[in-house]
């Protein structure tokens, strides 16, 4: 007795214009706005296909009947309304177009990755030089010929 009557529940896909008009009236919509989901066997019936706009796009300052979901009594709800609440997906228009955002972000990311790769190939380190020993740089200990004259070694002082 507390349920909705049979004529208020969603029904089968409307085939005739009269059925369309009756369905639009049932959902409190204008006949021009009413557009059901296509009848491809997925079980939508005559439920209206509302535009995919989330609750973020509705006026935050208007005195809604239910301010938290920004919805008035009797207004048709989207099939995926639980996805479009204010805690979930936001479809509001961004200040910058989507393709610009994507392009700039991917440019930034790819530049960073390429530069990190370059930084790995050419790392930064303090200047180092090979170790030098005094006199003739261990010429004999390194297996140099004792009869030949050792090459002149220049020592550097930092």
């Amino acid at each position: 007795a507390s349920e909705m009557s049979k004529d208020l529940m969603p029904g089968p896909y409307p085939r005739t214009p009269e059925e369309r008009a009756a369905a639009a009236k049932k959902y409190n919509m204008r006949v021009e706005d009413y557009e059901p989901y296509p009848d491809d066997g997925f079980g939508f019936g005559d439920y209206p296909k509302l535009p995919d706009k989330s609750a973020h796009e509705r006026d935050p300052w208007y005195q809604w009947d239910q301010p938290d979901v920004r919805h008035n009594w009797g207004q048709p709800m989207h099939w995926d309304f639980d996805m479009y609440i204010r805690n979930r997906v936001d479809t509001s228009p961004t200040p910058v177009p989507w393709h610009t955002m994507r392009k700039h972000f991917l440019l930034f990311l790819s530049t960073m990755l390429i530069m990190f790769g370059l930084g790995e190939i050419y790392p930064s380190y303090r200047p180092v030089g090979p170790k030098q020993y005094p006199f003739n740089d261990l010429y004999l200990e390194r297996g140099g010929d004792p009869n030949k004259e050792p090459p002149v070694v220049t020592h550097y002082e930092i």
């Binding site: 995926d80 972000f105 990190f116 790392p123 380190y125």
Partner: protein, 605 residues
């Protein structure tokens, strides 16, 4: 007297003192908890925790104690063990000092809150979870603390749960932290399967640690410490009250990821790939956050991005294989970042809820103590010589310049250092100097000692903490001693360049007209477009496909196609093909049936 006994006793006393409000809650009706009792509890715990810290500083006593063992299986035991080493001994007093100041501030800030005792209780629970994380000797106890701080972060960010943006921010924090937890659980699983224990003082492998568990640890730190890739939750977490931002998202919780890497640094130390990954990730995070902070107009968001940038710097230090220096930066950062948040809280309340710096100005004369401490905090953040931040930040930059590392990481970190100076100065100029852009009847008042005492205490800490810690703690690795003058002064030069840039830009905005939008401003103020690009498509696809699979596909396929309608379709198909075959002459068929039966019957008889 045996120093380890005194150490263990005093530390356990600290923990017991902090736990008392939680135990008193269900007990008596007369001595109930109130904000003042909880503040007093934390103050007492701080004073007691100075005992183990002094013991450690003067005698170098460390200990690992275990109290009970969970005999999980016959060969895998999980003890309840506490590790009291340099890191936990130092972290306890610092965390308790900062928490005490924040709780004292919150008695004024949240005074008009009806559930103020529950708020304080939440903050206390968070502190307990954070201290468990710090003192844990095995990964299991650390995981308990890890999840605890994540849970309390969710509850505290969404404190004003009637506000949809706060709920979204809390959800965002939990989801991003969860992605990091996958990494932590992965490395815990590897540790359990290879070393058969979750204790942290087991000797690491002499050969190179495999990269996969280290990637898990780095993922955990990325999630918890808001490195680039899992960072959007930290600016969104500013929806919570300012004491929450000061405690969780500046000093304590966000350093949990870095703390994990400090605790497991023996595993990281012999894997250069993991170290390079830490370095590059930290450098990218610090620059990205500093770039975003340049164009923010909300004072709390600027400080949030500043925190994110400093966390990137801590990750860079881990990548340089200097965990002790990272811990030093954690300690000094806690002081001035908490102070910056408390000063911003005072400013926000004094301007009756105004958080936009474009509507502030000239506050130096109206709120002298607060703005002076704000200046001290900003100077410490920039690494002004001999304030707290200098001791850690300058050492990090020096070690960066004198190590063998990725050049781009070095350049990014230096650039981020100058950006730090730029956005700090921008904030200072817009908030404190110039003409007031606030409404004339703001309830500007800082005469309450509940405001001035915490802020001045933290200011004292910001000035002295660096000096005190570096004087008493001996470094485990030799710092670079000799370097050219340019390298030695690189940090100061970068900061000075950043200040010059900020001054130049501010004079430009006063004199020249500026085009309103340009790609760089859009990129910086929209946080690199990361938030809409990642959040919208992923959630839409996930929720849409979930809805379609759950309702349409399962209902359609299992209830209909596998049952009645499937049979119907198959039968229809069979019928349609076989209908063309037969001709439907029923009377002829019946006649043939009757004829054949009569024939058979007649032949039988």
């Amino acid at each position: 007297m045996e120093t380890t006994l005194l150490l263990n006793t005093s530390l356990l006393l600290t923990l017991a003192i902090i736990l008392t409000p939680t135990l008193l809650l269900p007990m008596s009706k007369t001595s109930s908890n109130s904000p003042t009792t909880i503040t007093r509890t934390v103050k007492t715990a701080f004073l007691i925790s100075l005992v183990p810290m002094t013991l450690f500083m003067l005698s170098g006593t460390e200990s690992i104690t275990s109290y009970w063992e969970w005999k999980f299986t016959t060969n895998f035991k999980i003890p309840l063990s506490f590790k009291m080493d340099q890191y936990s001994m130092m972290f306890f007093p610092i965390a308790l000092f900062v928490t005490w100041s924040i709780l004292q501030f919150a008695t004024w800030y949240m005074a008009s809150e009806p559930h103020i005792t529950k708020f304080f209780f939440y903050l206390l629970t968070f502190l307990i979870a954070m201290l468990i994380l710090t003192i844990a000797n095995n990964m299991f106890l650390l995981f308990i603390g890890w999840e605890g701080v994540g849970m309390m972060s969710f509850l505290l960010i969404g404190w004003w749960q009637g506000r949809a943006e706060a709920n979204t921010a809390a959800l965002q924090a939990v989801l991003y932290n969860r992605i990091g937890d996958i990494g932590l659980i992965l490395s815990m699983a590897w540790l359990a399967s290879t070393m058969n224990t979750w204790e942290m003082q087991q000797a690491p492998l002499p050969t190179q640690t495999p990269t996969l568990p280290l990637l898990g640890l780095i993922l955990a730190a990325t999630g918890k410490s808001a490195q680039f890739g899992l960072h959007p939750w930290l600016p969104a977490a500013m929806e919570g009250p300012t004491p929450v931002s000061a405690l969780l998202h500046s000093s304590t919780m966000v350093v949990a990821g870095i703390f994990l890497l400090i605790r497991t640094h023996p595993l990281l130390a012999n894997n250069p790939t993991a170290l390079t990954l830490c370095l590059c990730l930290g450098a990218l995070s610090t620059l990205f956050a500093a770039t975003c902070a340049l164009t923010q107009n909300d004072i709390k968001k600027i400080i949030a991005f500043s925190t994110s940038s400093q966390l990137g710097l801590m990750m860079v230090t881990i990548g340089l294989n200097l965990p002790q220096l990272a811990f030093l930066h954690i300690s000094t950062h806690a002081f001035f970042k908490a102070m910056l948040f408390l000063c911003s809280g005072t400013i926000i309340h004094s301007l009756n809820g105004e958080q936009d710096i474009r509507k502030m100005g000239g506050l130096q004369k109206m709120l002298p103590t607060t703005t002076s401490c704000l200046t001290i905090g900003n100077l410490a953040l920039m690494g002004t010589p001999f304030l707290a931040g200098f001791y850690s930040k300058d050492l990090i930059i020096e070690s960066l310049n004198t190590s063998y590392l990725n050049t781009w990481a070095l350049l990014l970190t230096l650039l981020a250092t100058s950006f730090t100076a730029t956005y700090s100065l921008r904030m200072t100029l817009l908030v404190q100097t110039g003409f007031p852009r606030t409404p004339t009847n703001s309830p500007t008042n800082e005469n309450n000692p509940m405001i001035t005492n915490p802020i001045t205490r933290l200011a004292l800490g910001s000035i002295l903490a660096g000096l005190l810690i570096t004087s008493y703690i001996t470094p485990t690795k030799t710092p670079p001693m000799t370097m050219p003058t340019t390298t030695k002064t690189a940090a100061v030069i970068a900061t000075a360049l950043g200040i010059a840039l900020a001054m130049e830009l501010s004079t430009m905005t006063h004199t020249l007209t500026y085009p309103k939008q340009n790609p760089h401003l859009n990129f910086s103020s929209s946080l690199g477009y990361f938030n809409p690009l990642m959040h919208r498509p992923n959630t839409t696809n996930l929720l849409n496909s979930g809805q379609k699979i759950a309702s349409h596909l399962i209902d359609l396929s299992w209830y209909k196609k596998m049952g009645p309608e499937g049979l119907t379709d198959l039968q229809l198909m069979a019928i349609k093909t076989s209908t063309t075959l037969h001709t439907g002459l029923i009377k002829t068929y019946l006649g043939s049936f009757a004829l054949s039966i009569i024939l058979i019957l007649s032949t039988q008889t």
